[in-house]
């Protein structure tokens, strides 16, 4: 065990932080007001909600905690209750059997809060969008601030999207 512990100390695997995703910054700038952003600051607690995913997105979200991505170094961590959360990270096409649980989880999360929809299913239902049993994406059930697409999105994409939540959004041109 000592060797394992030493290895972890002497040969860290953690990689350089990626830049926030430009598309994510833009989407956030369009949706979030600066007040909410300042209140949440640079430390975010995430409650993950599987709303009908195939478990593929969950595997890649799990990977964010491994030594290569080490999500917690950015001040972002997963929490066990929506009561403790600033961010809901939602996967799946939102099955009708999960829609009430998702709404309740959303209601239990204190304001201000972000909702991030993960995966092609979370975007619009993906391959399941025409089913009688699915709502067709997270935004059909709760308001979404950021979409991270992919089937499933790779941890690097998830990371770039989540880091965008911490950064100041670009100032949008006034129309």
């Amino acid at each position: 065990m000592i060797r394992f512990l030493l290895e972890g100390l002497l040969r860290p695997l953690t990689e350089k932080a990626p830049r926030a995703d430009d598309g994510a910054l833009l989407e956030l700038a369009q949706k979030l007001d600066g007040v909410a952003r300042r209140k949440l600051g640079r430390s975010l607690s995430i409650r993950e909600v599987d709303a009908g995913s195939c478990n593929g997105c969950e595997l890649e979200i799990h990977a964010l905690n491994n030594a290569f991505y080490d999500l917690e170094r950015f001040g972002i961590r997963f929490v066990a209750s929506p009561r403790h959360a600033d961010v809901l990270l939602v996967t799946g096409p939102v099955t009708k059997n999960m829609s009430l649980a998702l709404q309740r989880t959303y209601a239990a999360t204190p304001d201000p809060k972000y909702v991030v929809a993960v995966g092609d299913c979370g975007f619009d239902g993906g391959v399941f969008k025409d089913s009688y049993a699915c709502c067709g994406g997270v935004s059909a059930v709760v308001p979404v601030d950021l979409h991270i697409k992919g089937c499933p999105p790779e941890p690097a994409d998830l990371l770039k999207g989540l880091i965008a939540l911490l950064e100041d959004p670009p100032v949008l041109a006034q129309v």
Partner: protein, 505 residues
């Protein structure tokens, strides 16, 4: 021929069925079969409906032969199987929810996947729409006795895992009953299948349970190929095995860490997490996708493995071979961890046999079933590998069996890379000009995945049923936790790691 087998084969054979023989039996033989099933003459591996009939996948224990028996249900009901063979219960409740075909005489008629939120009843049978959605109440089994209390958990859990509801009845810290309620991630896959091209069918099958995407794609593709009397090219067959075994290793590695993490041993989790990441990165380099989604397609595979890919994989195998013994030692030598895993969540050999539970859950309790060997499929029939096995049936045994399966998978990948033939990667699928059916297994990391596909004359999917190994493993978790403390539930649950999505359809 045994009595059971001759009864199975006594009905009218279905000429267009391939892969596993299917016979349409009369009600008398159906009753005879379920009577013998209840006495242990056979394994019930699946029970499903194609919206008009019900089908049972059986394995005669004496001969080891597989067969599908079908009962026509013109009155939309059939004699209950669960009345004599309990493991059929959740299948029957599902058939009722999805197709409106009732198991006559069943003891439990509560809805299972249908929670009263779809806006339609019997979506695959004679659908009945309804407007006001309030959700159905669900009557959990009552518990009697002083000093017991209930703990409801889920569907949203504390960790990053799939949703399901667990209703514990506990006496102090000790669990006296667990009742599962599943169906939260029901996506209606069986009703998305009719009319789909086989390409879309494979995409859907590969997303029934994303952690087993390769296994599902193999089972679906093999069923389609069998139905059309074609074989995928040799190179594709061997590449499928390479991908399937990488998937198995990646899942076992991740789960072993997660099990230890649930016993508060984060060090193992950190190292298996890093190893899993190295595996997925190599997979991305070799096959273009970390989880290998949509890489196995009906007719072959959608990507090749380059010469650089082969050396990347060889490097990965060497890395795993070096790391694995150290992880095994870390697991086995850490006394505080062993204190949590040994003797926890025990499943008896009898229960595993009754439920015909496959995968490492069966193998850790003395049931040596592996669909790669029996009924067997290419290329495994040409390979040598050892299965993990134990009689202990506890969390510890399930972890050790998984370690052994990783070693076996390494052997399989090495042999496959050494024998990888050159040649085409996929064939164009012919059209049969008539309705055809295929039934096939693929061994996923949890156990055998079964796919049954009926194609129409144009070669599109008419009906498809996919059965995850979890169907026959979830009920055993309810048994495994009995008498354990509530705090050991995450450990037991993770040591099973049943699929929610794969089960909920």
């Amino acid at each position: 021929m045994t009595d059971f087998l001759s009864t199975m084969r006594r009905g009218v054979p279905v000429g267009h069925a391939r892969g596993i023989a299917r016979h349409v039996v009369d009600q008398g033989d159906w009753l005879l079969l379920i009577h013998e099933l209840g006495k242990g003459a056979a394994d019930l591996l699946a029970l499903w409906s194609c919206s008009r009939h019900v089908h049972m996948l059986l394995r005669d224990r004496a001969s080891g032969e597989f067969g599908v028996v079908t009962l026509e249900c013109p009155e939309r009901r059939y004699p209950s199987v669960s009345r004599l063979h309990l493991p059929a219960l959740r299948f029957e409740r599902t058939i009722r929810d999805l197709y409106g075909i009732d198991a006559h005489g069943a003891n439990d008629v509560r809805r299972w996947l249908d929670h009263g939120r779809w806006g339609v009843r019997k979506p695959g049978g004679l659908p009945e729409a309804y407007g006001v959605i309030t959700g159905d109440p669900y009557a959990f089994h009552a518990s009697r006795g002083e000093a017991t209390h209930q703990i409801p958990v889920g569907p949203v859990h504390a960790g990053i895992i799939e949703p399901g509801h667990f209703r514990f009845t506990a006496n102090g810290e000790v669990v006296v009953r667990l009742e599962e309620r599943l169906g939260y991630v029901h996506k209606g896959i069986e009703q998305l299948m009719p009319g789909a091209s086989v390409t879309r069918g494979a995409q859907l099958a590969g997303r029934l349970s994303g952690d087993s995407t390769v296994a599902y794609a193999i089972a679906f593709s093999r069923a389609v190929e069998l139905a059309l009397d074609v074989e995928a090219p040799a190179r594709a067959i061997w590449l499928r095995a390479v991908m399937a075994e990488i998937e198995r290793i990646a899942n076992h590695v991740g789960d072993i860490g997660a099990i230890c993490n649930d016993a508060a041993f984060a060090l193992m989790h950190a190292h298996t997490g890093a190893l899993r990441e190295r595996i997925l990165r190599a997979t991305k380099l070799c096959f273009g996708h970390r989880l290998m989604m949509d890489r196995v397609v009906p007719g072959g595979v959608a990507c090749d493995l380059s010469t650089e890919g082969v050396s990347t994989l060889r490097g990965l195998l060497a890395d795993i071979r070096k790391t694995l013994p150290r992880l095994m030692a870390l697991f086995g030598d850490t006394v505080s961890l062993q204190d949590r895993t040994v003797g926890t969540g025990r499943v008896s050999a009898d229960l595993v046999r009754q439920f015909a539970a496959g995968g490492f859950i069966g193998r850790a309790s003395g049931r040596a079933f592996d669909s790669r060997r029996a009924p067997g499929y290419a290329p495994y029939t040409e390979l040598t590998f050892a299965d993990g096995a134990s009689e202990e049936g506890d969390v510890d045994a399930r972890v050790w069996v998984r370690f052994d399966e990783i070693t076996a998978s390494l052997d399989i990948i090495e042999q496959s890379l050494a024998r990888l033939p050159q040649g085409p990667l996929r064939i164009d699928l012919p059209t049969a000009g008539e309705a055809r059916e295929g039934a096939a297994f693929a061994e996923a990391f949890r156990g055998e995945v079964f796919a049954w596909v009926r194609l129409d004359a144009q070669g599109n999917v008419e009906r498809c049923h996919l059965r995850d190994a979890s169907w026959l493993q979830w009920p055993l978790l309810e048994m495994a936790i009995k008498g354990n403390i509530v705090a050991d539930f995450p450990l037991c649950n993770k040591s099973f790691n049943c699929s929610y999505s794969g089960h909920d359809l």
